[in-house]
Subunit: 215 residues, 2 copies
Amino acid sequence: MNISANTLAQLEDRFRATLINSLPGLKSLHLVGTMSENGHSNLGLFNSVFHLGASPSLLGMVFRPGSQDHDTLSNIKRTGFYTLNNVLTSFYQQAHQTSARYPSGVSEFVECGLTEYFIPNFQAPFVAESTIKIGMELRELLPVALNNTTIIIGEIKHIQLNENILASDGYINHSLAGSLTVGGLDGYFENKPLERLSYAKPNQAVHLLKVKKEY
Amino acid sequence: MNISANTLAQLEDRFRATLINSLPGLKSLHLVGTMSENGHSNLGLFNSVFHLGASPSLLGMVFRPGSQDHDTLSNIKRTGFYTLNNVLTSFYQQAHQTSARYPSGVSEFVECGLTEYFIPNFQAPFVAESTIKIGMELRELLPVALNNTTIIIGEIKHIQLNENILASDGYINHSLAGSLTVGGLDGYFENKPLERLSYAKPNQAVHLLKVKKEY
């Protein structure tokens, strides 16, 4: 079937939102930890983190206008710090529950049964249960006039992980880490590794990549 | 282990690039089809497409400076149109091969054994082998001064898919579609569905989502 832009515009809002959210494929999934104005921890579930560059080490993230992302965004703007924590099968239902509209004064860590974890000299809470914890510092806000979203760009300040998920060439094994992905807003997926492939060159067949510590 | 920003800055460039590219989790994967100046088709592999909004239906995408993304970006700027095509297990090695640095005058469709597919009144080539084909029109270029990348924002003009992968509420089933994800630049993954979860509300346990046509 072909769905044109005209058809899209006529779809019921919620159907279109579900369709477009799930259309571009499975997305990475993060619990974002921030510190609220009155000193308690805040936790929100996001699927919009993307790689922007390795030197400096930058990640982007999209915030929608007037949504429940509001607490997280205002905390990031005020404090300048936030954490990204991967989501595992063992607690994905609790992670999903953090997307409920809790009052601003309530910590989603407590309500959803997840554990705060702090490191010295870093003001935002990590999720103890996550196997990959990333400490971020806000670098830039990019407003998108087309639909009033905001792209925030942050720099990686800390990476916490178990070295058994890190290959000898720097590659992080998300199978061993147990990281889930999400389709749309509510469909959760585990992953099943195929292969790592070698750097592609013209007129040379692709082969499997061999690294010293392989997966 | 903890990797700080100072440690990151001292890592060898390629190790850091592999680490940071693979860090934020598995990413959606697309073959991007464009039409070159001299009228032949161009195809490139990208892992940076992200959801920006459903009304209007917008997707973002990141281009690095001076990289092999160059042909794709200049074609998009000149023509205003491009396609996003999902990657399946049956042709992921061919998709990977499109990332080789072929000369500008060469079509990656031909070199890598993939099939062009056109629809009326749309100027960019789709990949016939893909189960989800998205026709895009360029809406905005956002330069990112921090690292000289460019975020392009496009609007969805056409969606081509088999209706058996579309649930009754608009959700697209990437398991049935066979869409792969990628870790870093070269690690390919199939997906394994867990569950769809209901809309989360405070003080109410998460339950499994039931839709008329369920997966």
